[in-house]
């Protein structure tokens, strides 16, 4: 039945978009590139033929419906160059489809899936066995290059009897797709060529069979408890075992090759070391034990109802790190009484809650940070060598935010025992990102790789910086790229499918999409989430290492599905009393993250209100996952990804300078000269713009014919440049290229690359003048009718001729680095530093540290402004209540630079930090205005 329907799907789409019929194939090819999994798995399983990626991640659905699936691309497995994907995309993709073309098909699949789901649960057993067989087969095909395995079909061979202990309770441990044989023994069964005899095709990691040396892949499973086994009666015989007992397996060796090593993970997706590190929770205990010597830890305590005669760990609901075997706990755990006392005592003395305590264990200072919730107390200890107490406090806030986002409240997070293993994993990831642990990993390869990829000081500093402020690095792409992103996200979020389907849809939607955001590497490209949700989602992605993963390497496929509690919905807690806030439906919220290559798309879904009732633990609906994947692919296809990566590496928006360059200019940095420079530069500034305006006006009509092939600048959707387009940059550009040559060129037609550059030039100039919202909307509607390849081409053209934008005034660039910090929106705009030498990094680290100090001073002002009454009560130092700017000058090894922070109070507190060369004419005011406006 499904076969026929599947066939009809492409047909249908062809009919509807007949003009695009050619593109379906291209699309499939493209799918192939991305997912590379349509091959080899086209038998049996009911939807693997159309969309096998779904099958892959479906095997990872946990018992509570959550999914965390990562598949790395082959290259990153062997650490080859990361440029492959970019190259692939660079090559022209002549036939690009709108993603609509696949939509209709999706809908059918949705309906079909609704039927098949019921069917599948009924016939789960059969279905599962076939599905797993598929994976085996497929893996065999894929892995053929590495080691040839032949399963020789001899009847004769050594017969062994193996006793295994099985426990039917663990039936569902591996998820619902696992067969009985997999669940009980950890053996993946497969039929021999005669379709009767059962072969050991692979092992489930940590299964019973794997621990037993006598079972080999390729063995013929003859008898279980002296019942003869065929592939047909296997499940039936196993299902008869209902009590935990020893089972005798009789195996006969048929294959001569021992292939235990390579194929042991046979049914797992290919994952790079980093990805495995994120997903694997097996080594947790050993890793935790290695952390016991460090002065760090996490502990969650109940602070009431403690009796004096209680046992050792009374009131401790969770502790990390710990060792189950040796019964050793962190020093924090044994000394916890002191912190409980302080937490009780200090409010009674000075009416303030303690924030952090500094202690010294041995020679090392550490910081204990408090978060109390009613009668319970969370303590996190971090050593001073990795962060200061202020950083520790802020990082704690970020962690608590993530935990509450994931588990609703700290109580619900730490109290249930079943959460503990995932919490262990969470904190191990966190600690490893923060501290350079030089301890024995189990396999040294993994360790080396980790060290290399993520443990450079700069990275740690960056992680700390981002965590401490709970902000996402945002890059501001050209406006038409942003429009494209917004359009794609909106289209997905709207879920308006009427246009794509002629038949009436009678099924109620399962989820409402609250918002979504998209990342390239670790940079946020666009967000449709409310600010608080944005901060939540970002913290979640950062702490679970997903941003680091996509930043370091490409993923072939990444799917994450998790129930979460967004703060915009009051963490899912419904209090009937408050009527002033808008109604929050009594529903559930889910986070869906999909990723390809270096890109991530996070979608926040709501179940409740107008959606169909959500029934527990079925995992994500394939339709929504595919929808998100389609959206992400669409955004990649129109070239946004390439644009973003070029944007990041281009160092043009705004342009910063490396620290080496100006040992020369340093000599002239005396103050008086600066003052002169100020006057001079402001003089010279006034004149050039006028000339320029004239130039452009003269030039425009002549340019037009030369670029008729494409579009006239007025019509072009790429009007933007960037929101922060500046006069100065264009001035300098025209100065740089030389006014004379431009003049002489004017007479003749401008062709080729030059033409494109000129066009962009004039386009961005145009945008400076009038760029009203109406214009944008006009352009927007224009965009929709455009061909996708055109969009792509335009976007990419733009990046080819990026005009470096200067923020400082004058004819030279003096800017090292800047950061625009908006903690309310959770957004960080910054230049991407040129990381060439260690000195740069040190200056960057220095900058980050300065920002912390300045931020604390500026924050006093914010706090004071927030206090409406109680001004008398607060203990804020009166001299610091109205600080709005703070700057420091550093002089290092021939480089003199300022770090300056400024606070803007309206509309909401924002901070701007710049790091610029001292010899710059003192025009920070200008910088600030330009960025702020």
């Amino acid at each position: 039945m499904s076969e026929i329907e599947n066939k009809s799907v492409p047909l249908k789409s062809k009919c509807k978009h007949s003009n695009q019929s050619y593109s379906t194939d291209a699309c499939n090819e493209d799918d192939h590139d991305w997912w590379a999994s349509d091959s080899g798995s086209s038998t049996g399983s009911y939807y693997s033929d159309t969309d096998s990626s779904a099958v892959e991640w479906e095997s990872e659905i946990g018992p509570n419906g959550e999914v965390f699936y990562i598949e790395s691309i082959e290259e990153s497995l062997f650490e080859s160059d990361h440029a492959t994907l970019d190259d692939k995309n660079d090559s022209p993709q002549p036939e690009l489809t709108r993603r609509r073309s696949t939509r209709a098909g999706k809908l059918f699949r949705l309906i079909r899936r609704k039927e098949s789901k019921r069917w599948s649960t009924r016939n789960k057993r059969i279905n599962n066995s076939t599905a797993s067989t598929n994976t085996v087969e497929q893996e065999k095909g894929d892995g053929s290059g590495s080691k040839e395995v032949t399963f020789r079909d001899f009847q004769a061979g050594e017969i062994r009897k193996v006793t295994l202990w099985i426990d039917p309770e663990r039936r569902h441990k591996l998820g619902r797709r696992a067969t009985l044989c997999e669940a009980y023994f950890g053996i993946i069964p497969k039929a021999f060529s005669d379709k009767v005899r059962v072969m050991v095709a692979g092992f489930i990691p940590d299964g019973e069979a794997m621990k037993n040396k006598n079972i080999k892949i390729g063995d013929w499973l003859r008898r279980i408890n002296s019942n003869d086994i065929t592939f047909q009666n296997l499940d039936q015989i196993l299902s008869e075992i209902i009590t935990p007992s020893n089972v005798i397996l009789e195996l006969q060796r048929v294959a001569g090759v021992d292939v235990a090593g390579k194929l042991s993970r046979i049914n797992e997706p290919k994952q790079s070391i980093l990805a495995q590190y994120l997903v694997n929770r097996e080594n947790n205990n050993s890793l935790m034990e290695s952390l016991l010597d460090y002065p760090l830890g996490v502990i969650y305590l109940k602070t009431t109802d403690l009796s004096e005669v209680g046992q050792e760990l009374q009131g401790v609901l969770y502790t990390f790190p710990r060792s189950e075997i040796k019964n050793v706990n962190s020093s924090l755990c044994t000394a916890r009484g002191a912190f409980i006392t302080l937490n009780h005592l200090l409010p009674s003395i000075v009416n303030l809650q303690p924030v952090s305590t500094t202690i010294r264990i041995g020679e090392k200072e550490t910081h204990v940070v408090y978060t109390s919730r009613d009668d319970e107390l969370l303590l996190i200890t971090l050593p001073d060598e990795c962060c200061t107490s202020q950083e520790a406090v802020k990082i704690m806030e970020d962690i608590v935010r993530t935990l509450e986002f994931t588990y609703q409240s700290l109580t619900k997070c730490f109290t249930p025992m079943e959460n503990h293993s995932s919490l262990d994993h969470f904190f191990i990831l966190f600690i490893h990102r923060l501290i350079n642990i030089k301890d024995s990993f189990k396999d040294t390869d993994a360790k080396k790789n980790l060290l290399k990829s993520e443990n450079s000081t700069e990275n740690i500093e960056n992680f700390k910086f981002r965590s401490a402020f709970s902000v996402a690095s945002f890059i501001q792409l050209p406006r038409d790229a942003q429009i494209q992103i917004d359009a794609a996200l909106s289209e997905m979020e709207a879920m308006d499918y009427r246009d794509w389907n002629e038949d009436p849809m009678d099924c109620q939607r399962l989820y409402t999409i609250l918002g979504s955001c998209i990342y390239h590497k670790c940079y946020l490209l666009g967000s449709h989430l409310s600010h608080e949700d944005m901060i939540d989602v970002h913290s979640f992605l950062r702490h679970n290492g997903l941003l680091n993963l996509v930043n370091q390497e490409q993923v072939k496929c990444l799917v994450l599905w998790k129930q979460i509690y967004p703060s915009s919905c009051n963490r899912g807690i419904i209090d009937g009393g408050s009527s002033d806030q808008f109604l929050i439906p009594n529903g559930k919220w889910f986070l869906l993250v999909v990723g390809y290559g270096h890109d991530l798309l996070a979608v926040l879904l709501e179940s409740g209100g107008c959606t169909a009732r959500y029934n527990d633990a079925i995992g994500p609906d394939v339709f929504y996952v595919e929808e998100a994947q389609e959206t992400l692919k669409h955004i990649q296809k129109i070239g946004v990804t390439i644009l973003a990566s070029k944007w990041i590496t281009s160092n043009a928006r705004p342009e910063v300078i490396p620290y080496e360059e100006h040992t020369m200019t340093k000599a002239s940095s005396s103050i008086t000269e600066n003052l002169l420079g100020l006057i001079k530069s402001s003089d010279t500034q006034i004149i050039p713009p006028k000339q320029n305006v004239n130039l452009t006006i003269n030039k425009k009509p002549q340019e037009l014919p030369s670029i008729l092939k494409k579009r006239s600048p007025e019509e072009s959707p790429m009007i933007s440049g960037s929101v922060y387009s500046l006069h100065t940059s264009e001035d300098s550009l025209s100065q740089g290229t030389g006014g004379v040559s431009e003049m002489s060129d004017e007479a003749m037609p401008i062709l080729g690359r030059r033409a494109t550059r000129e066009k962009i030039n004039s386009a961005s100039r145009y945008s400076d003048d009038s760029d009203s919202d109406i214009d944008i909307y006009k352009n927007d509607s224009h965009v929709l009718t455009m061909d996708i390849s055109n969009i792509r081409e335009n976007l990419l053209n733009q990046v080819e001729y990026l005009i470096p934008k200067k923020l400082t005034a004058g004819d030279k660039n003096y800017l090292y680095h800047y950061v625009h910090l908006d903690t309310v929106e959770g957004i960080l705009l910054s230049s991407i530093p040129i990381q060439s030498i260690s000195k740069d990094n040190r200056i960057l680290v220095n900058f980050n540290k300065c920002v912390q100090v300045i931020h604390r001073l500026l924050h006093n002002t914010v706090r004071f402004k927030m206090l409406n009454q109680d001004i008398e009560k607060t203990a804020i130092n009166r001299s610091l209540i109205a600080v709005k700017e703070h700057g420091v000058l550093f002089e290092w090894e021939n480089a003199t630079f300022w770090v300056i922070g400024r606070l803007y109070m309206s509309p909401h507190p924002k901070e701007l930090y710049v790091c610029h060369q001292d010899s710059a004419p003192q025009n920070l005011i200008e910088i600030a205005f330009q960025l702020h406006s």
């Binding site: 006392t341 005592l345 009674s348 202690i359 203990a875 550093f890 003192q922």
Partner: protein, 412 residues
């Protein structure tokens, strides 16, 4: 807005004294005992409790000589300064009692009585803290010696040296309004805590004109007492000296009069310098409200206000508080006051981060602006009105620095 300091014996947890300042509730014994108990418990776990941060306050514990625990709670003060404050408090305890007595005291009641002697000094030390209130009349810094610069400093210096020769001592200084106008080299070799304590000991009680008290020097000689002699020459001008048992006080007095008689007018002009604390040859611009010049190596400072401004505007004394706050929060924070060592560069990244190479810093608030610039061992902080453009501050500060250090008459 408040500060507490508590002292207990670390073996028995018996409270020796407790002082407080500001608008706050009195500290009860049970609270003191609990604070101490936490420290004791952690000590039994081989963990030393250092400090706890609250949103605007800091609690700090410190154990001295394995026998005394000092606990301080203060608002608005950096940890660095609070730590210095505890050092000074312990120094004050040693000053009159001697370390032996504190360490080996059999009779706790007597020790408590001894501690009462130093309570006025501890109160003065608490006044030095920048707790963010505007009450204190004089702005002082807990870890540095306050000085006054006048054009007659060289003359005073010669005179003082002659006087000290007679006393056969190397430790002596001239105080004008509690600020050091001239001092012997030996005086500067004393620890900054000792200098501070000796000055406070003399100035905290202003009724007497002549002092002769035995003092222990907390760092230099905690076991053997010196004689601290102070003689008032004219109103607000005193001469301080540490000396041995001879000569008699009356003899010293007589010689002092003899020695300084010829320089009475000099003393008067120096006295007139206060509270500007700068010689008239250095003129301050109208936009500058006050300045703070610090020598961080010797740990001394001059804090002065621009009297010209004061005539035009109504300015409270807290204006100079701003400079002190600025110094603690911005200058010390960025390590302007720390020597930059080239060879320790490697360690910078691995160990806790320290700022190196900071040269200047400024801060703009809605009501005023501050600018600090480093010059060799000196740091000049200037308080400006808010109308001064930010880049002009640099020029004016440099100008003041130049004036102070190019003037040969100014000896500091």
């Amino acid at each position: 807005m408040s500060v507490y300091v508590m002292c207990l014996t670390s073996s028995g947890g018996i409270p020796l004294f407790s002082r407080q300042k500001g608008d706050n509730d009195t500290m009860t014994f049970s609270k003191i005992a609990s604070l101490n108990g936490v420290h004791m418990f952690l000590k039994s776990q081989d963990i030393s409790l250092l400090s706890t941060d609250l949103s605007d306050m800091t609690v700090i514990w410190k154990e001295f000589e394995q026998c005394i625990i000092l606990i301080a709670i203060a608002s608005g003060v950096t940890k660095y300064i609070l730590d210095k404050f505890l050092d000074a408090t312990f120094g004050a305890m040693v000053l009159f009692t001697g370390i032996d007595e504190i360490k080996n005291s059999k009779n706790i009641e007597r020790l408590k009585k001894d501690m009462r002697l130093c309570s006025s000094i501890i109160d003065s030390l608490m006044d030095c803290l920048d707790i963010g209130d505007k009450i204190s009349t004089k702005t002082n810094i807990v870890n540095m010696t306050e000085c006054i610069i006048s054009s007659e400093n060289i003359l005073l210096q010669t005179c003082l040296e002659g006087f000290m020769e007679y006393l056969d001592s190397i430790y002596g200084c001239v105080l004008v309004h509690g600020c050091v106008a001239a001092a012997t080299e030996g005086w500067w070799s004393l620890d900054s805590v000792e200098r501070k304590l000796l000055t406070i000991a003399i100035t905290s009680e202003s009724i007497c004109t002549t002092y002769d008290i035995p003092v222990f020097l907390p760092c230099k000689s905690p076991n053997v007492a010196f004689r601290l002699v102070a003689i008032t020459l004219i109103n607000h001008v005193q001469i301080l000296a540490l000396c041995g048992p001879n000569p008699e006080l009356t003899e010293i007095e007589r010689f002092a009069v003899q020695c300084w008689k010829s320089n009475m007018d000099v003393l008067c002009t120096v006295e007139q310098c206060y509270p500007r604390n700068l010689p008239a040859s250095v003129s301050l611009d109208n936009e500058t409200l006050g300045f703070l010049l610090v020598n961080y190596k010797v740990e001394k400072f001059v804090l002065g206000r621009n009297l010209q401004c004061e005539k035009n505007r109504v300015i409270g004394s807290h204006r100079l508080d701003i400079l002190r706050t600025f110094y603690h929060q911005a200058v010390e924070m960025f390590g302007l006051s720390v020597e930059h060592k080239e060879n320790s560069d490697e360690k910078v990244i691995t160990n806790a981060w320290k700022f190196t190479g900071a040269k200047e810093t400024y801060l703009c608030s809605e009501y005023h602006k501050c600018h600090a610039v480093k010059h060799n061992d000196y740091i000049l902080c200037v308080l400006y009105t808010s109308v001064v453009p930010t880049h002009t501050m640099r020029l004016i500060s440099q100008k003041i620095l130049k004036m102070i250090f190019s003037d040969k008459q100014i000896y500091w």
